[in-house]
């Protein structure tokens, strides 16, 4: 019994060490390995989604590819979800995270943020055109579908008096809205813009309201990974200088946001 217990402990310890040795070792280790492992979203059109052949493509995979190019290594994309992305980084399964992650003080404590922040999103609500809503105030006491765990659910509920009906993920709330269980879907504006690129939503739904609660997104590396942090900070500045992000927005079919335009303006002449 005691032996079995010891065996199990050793096994677990070995697994933990294996995980640690895998990634998040800084620039030299990545070059030695020959691949950069990046965590991106795979269900977030057009920032990271699967094309018909199954490859993950989009704005963020393009950013990741640019980083890999600068390092002169191959790129490996790992699809992550909001609920596991920080753990993936902490466990060393990925070197860096470019996965539509909003900048929150709690997150800054557990991962290393790359500044300047590469992108900013707004919160918006996808509404059936027939509902005829023109102002946030008109949503008072109306049921609004949302994704459980989104940080702005509480803020929106408090400021506009909407009744949040939250589901896990983004497919279930969208489906519930289509069924008529709620008047709209509250989510990241970028994601909703992506949805409006699809035929299924184009005709009947729209974003009639102005986005609220601007939220910067962060690229993150593991705490203490200073060499990779330095490289990414320079890379981000260069993206802003050359307008790489604005170009990418246009390439993937969404209107450049105020944030990326103003950052490009600000860094253009530096």
């Amino acid at each position: 019994m005691k032996n079995l217990f010891r065996f199990m402990i050793t096994g677990v310890a070995a697994l933990v060490m294996l995980g640690n040795a895998h990634a998040a070792d800084g620039v030299d280790a990545i070059k030695q390995r020959g691949t950069l492992i990046v965590g991106v979203k795979a269900d977030y059109k057009p920032f990271g989604y699967r094309d018909p052949t199954g490859n993950i493509v989009g704005i963020e995979p393009d950013l990741a590819a640019d980083v890999a190019k600068r390092l002169g290594v191959k790129l490996e994309l790992v699809s992550v979800a909001a609920s596991n992305r920080i753990e993936f980084l902490q466990q060393g399964k990925i070197d860096l995270l470019i996965a539509t992650m909003s900048d929150r003080p709690e997150r800054r404590k557990v991962v290393q943020v790359i500044e300047p922040l590469y992108y900013a999103d707004y919160v918006n609500i996808l509404i059936n055109k027939k509902a005829g809503i023109k102002d946030w105030a008109e949503l008072k006491d109306k049921p609004v579908c949302a994704t459980s765990g989104a940080w702005y659910n509480k803020d929106v509920a408090r400021s506009y008096g909407v009744e949040i009906v939250a589901f896990d993920g983004s497919e279930k709330p969208l489906f519930a809205m289509k069924q008529g269980n709620c008047i709209g879907y509250l989510y990241d504006q970028t994601f909703l813009q992506g949805k409006l690129l699809e035929d299924e939503w184009k005709a009947d739904y729209g974003l009639p309201l102005k986005g609220v609660l601007p939220a910067p997104w962060m690229i993150a590396v593991a705490l203490g990974n200073t060499s990779l942090q330095k490289l990414l900070e320079d890379t981000t500045k260069d993206w802003m200088k050359t307008g790489f992000i604005v170009e990418n927005e246009k390439k993937w079919g969404i209107a450049p946001t105020e944030y990326s335009l103003s950052m490009h303006e600000q860094y253009k002449d530096k």
Partner: protein, 247 residues
Amino acid sequence: MEAIRNWFQELYESTGLNFSVFYDAYDWNRYLGGLKMTLFLSVTTILLSLVIGAAGALIQGGQSKIARTAVNAFVVVFRNTPPLVQLFFFYFGLGTLMPSIESGGMRVPLLNNIQWAIVSLSLFAGAFNVEIFRSGIEAVPRTTVEAAESLGYTRIKAYIHIVLPLAIRVCLPALNNNLVNLLKTTTLAYAIAVPETLYAIKQIWSESQNVLEMMIVLLATYGILVGILVWLMHRWERAMHIPGYGR
């Protein structure tokens, strides 16, 4: 009230243990709302599942072969599939197929998520109750039923006045188990956004990042709720005790 609020605020500042439900009015109201919804779900589903169980067991012991097969099929379907799958099937599957009302050009479903949760959970627990009641009914001696019939009771009357009262006493411990399980299963309704306790607390912890503290509150809440239910059922069991019958 004020003192409790201050104490938990103090606790957060001094130890970092963030029991936000006990000092933040918004979180408290959500938690309270969740608790009310859990109680509402529990009471309605318990009552409905008892009705379904009693009716199903009556039919199972009846003459009609078609009705008996139908009840057996119902039990098989609802006992062999996980309750979460049933819930999703009802809400996302049947909900789309059901007729709906048009309002301002938009679809308004006939049943909302709370009503679907009640339907689904009642049927789930009802299927188990059918079998539990059957166990009780089969424990009532055939001679007792014959005695009732010889006294002029019709089948239904004998069932209601003679068989069921005895059967309930026999199957109470098993029924107890199932109803406790049902109360705990109401947490599944969170998956279709019914704002019950688990849903409310999940919202709170995802916003305040206090998973551990809220888990403790959640565990304590259900511990107490089930404690109350078990206490009530035991009281009922004692109140129904017939000297010389059973233990």
